[in-house]
């Protein structure tokens, strides 16, 4: 590890907000903005990746700090990373949604004793139903979760929604809100000690 920080930056919904944040730290992100195929920007210490990979790189110390969503951290709660700051942007909600036809989740629970739920967040979903004393079969899908209840694969879904637009377009209705998620600044535990000055400088500037 050199003394300059390596920062794991999530591509996707948090990308723009993260780059604005880096601009505020005095990092020139022009090249990152203009080149969406390149992954490693060594001269500014930035590596870009899927948001769900950010905790992996930070846990192993391949990046000293990173930005990712609270949803990712909840799903990967076993990762040994420090959560330093709530960055406030990228706000969205983790919800239980189902077809807007009566009460498909309640019906399944009453008549079949369990509900089938499709999600990209199997651990968050399982924990939510377990905590509310309901039996759920969790079906993990990788792509568009909204499709699953429309084809009869499941009764409902657990997913992240920012505006509710995609849900509405697929005739899905929010039945329960699990939690709110925003972007978080995370740090590698060893870097947090050995590069304390550099990391504290970032935290101070972001806190403002």
């Amino acid at each position: 590890m050199s003394d300059r920080l390596t920062i794991a930056v999530p591509r996707g919904a948090l990308f723009g907000g993260t780059l604005d944040l880096l601009d505020g730290l005095g990092i020139d992100t022009a090249e990152v903005r203009s080149n969406d195929r390149k992954l490693l920007f060594a001269d500014i210490g930035v590596v870009t990746m899927r948001p769900s990979d950010v905790p992996t790189y930070v846990e192993h110390g391949s990046a000293d700090i990173g930005i990712t969503g609270k949803d990712v951290l909840l799903e990967q709660s076993e990762r040994k990373v420090y959560e330093l700051l709530d960055l406030g942007f990228g706000e969205c909600e983790m919800v239980v949604a189902a077809p807007d036809t009566g009460d498909p989740i309640g019906d399944a629970l009453r008549r079949l004793g369990r509900v089938r739920i499709a999600t990209k967040y199997p651990r968050v979903a399982a924990a939510h139903f377990a905590e509310s004393g309901r039996q759920a079969e969790i079906v993990e899908v990788k792509g568009s979760v909204e499709l699953a209840p429309l084809t009869g694969l499941v009764d409902g879904i657990v997913d992240l929604t920012a505006t509710g637009k995609t849900l509405a377009e697929n005739n899905l209705k929010v039945f329960e809100r699990i939690t709110t998620s925003t972007a978080r600044l995370i740090a590698n535990p060893v870097a947090h000690k050995l590069k304390a000055t550099e990391i504290d400088a970032v935290v101070e500037r972001v806190r403002g």
């Binding site: 590890m1 110390g61 040994k80 330093l84 060893v190 000690k193 304390a196 504290d200």
Partner: protein
């Protein structure tokens, strides 16, 4: 044909084995030279004996039955077996007692594939030397043993596992609110911790200290920022006298997961690897649970992780 081995275990072939052996031998020699005789204890112990040391038996998860129906467990560290040995085999011996080990331990993790569950640990226990004097000896010897193993830039993080709990009590925070806060601190979920602190309704200066404490780390100057750090301050003086104070990072938010620590806690870092090489701390009540009341502290590192750091160090030079 390929045949599986249990998750978290692996075979070590001669080339790697030679290197691991060399690291273990150098650390073992450093411990022996400092008067820490090597000790061997059985890999399998009676589970009830391990549980006497720690309710969660420090994570022991591999269990089986013997022909009498007794529950046997693979040890999850060497500290509890050594506490047992001290109380049974050294019941009358004059302290201090010094022991070292290069030995395997087993811990089942919640993690999926790939996370090791069988570890080769190198470490030592110092029994009968209380307070900063004992802690400084253990820290200095660990630094020396790792230097002997080929590391150059390793550091030891030092905190007080009882500090945050003590602050909460002194601010009048009821006991039942402690656990979730200590858990957030242990994970360093500083966002969650701050929310919990805000909900306490303590004075604004108390609130600020509770929020700021987990970020206080560095040289001895951080000891000026918090109350209740007299023990760490005397530890700093002892480390200075031993000439290793510059290798130590005070970290006031440091807590270790194991239940038996009573005060100072340690972690070992090397800039070449992103995870801790090992850890330890003071456990003044543990040996008493086996029937001989003696203060003690110890520190162990994971030899495979030391090997990673040593290989990175070699690549640099």
């Amino acid at each position: 044909m390929t045949h599986p081995i249990p998750p978290g275990t692996r075979d070590v072939l001669p080339e790697e084995m030679r290197e691991l052996r060399a690291i273990g031998d150098r650390m073992r020699a450093a411990y022996e030279d400092a008067g820490y005789g090597e000790i061997h204890t059985p890999a399998l112990e009676y589970e009830e004996v391990l549980l006497r040391g720690d309710e969660r038996a420090a994570g022991a998860r591999y269990r089986s039955f013997d022909d009498q129906g007794a529950v046997l467990a693979l040890r999850s560290d060497m500290t509890i077996p050594i506490a047992r040995v001290v109380a049974t085999r050294y019941a009358e011996a004059e302290p201090p007692l010094r022991f070292s080990y290069v030995a395997r331990a087993w811990r089942a993790t919640d993690r999926g594939v790939g996370e090791p569950r069988e570890f080769l640990q190198a470490g030592m226990e110092l029994i009968g030397v209380p307070g900063a004097e004992g802690e400084a000896e253990v820290i200095a010897l660990t630094i020396e043993a790792l230097t002997a193993a080929g590391l150059r830039r390793h550091r030891v993080g030092v905190g007080d596992g009882a500090l945050y709990r003590g602050l909460l009590s002194s601010f009048g925070v009821p006991g039942e609110a402690h656990l979730p806060m200590l858990e957030a601190l242990s994970r360093r979920d500083l966002v969650g911790l701050e929310h919990q602190v805000d909900a306490l309704g303590v004075s604004s200066s108390d609130r600020d200290l509770l929020v700021r404490l987990p970020g206080l780390r560095g040289g001895p100057e951080v000891l000026d920022e918090a109350p209740g750090v007299g023990g760490l301050r005397s530890l700093y003086e002892q480390l200075e006298a031993r000439g290793v104070a510059d290798r130590v990072i005070f970290d006031l938010g440091l807590v270790r997961e194991l239940g038996y620590y009573t005060g100072a806690v340690f972690e070992v870092y090397d800039p070449a690897v992103g995870f801790t090489l090992g850890g330890g701390g003071r456990y003044d009540n543990l040996i008493g649970k086996f029937g001989r009341d003696l203060p003690a502290c110890g520190l162990a590192v994971d030899v495979a992780r030391v090997h990673l750091a040593q290989a990175a160090e070699e690549a640099l030079s």
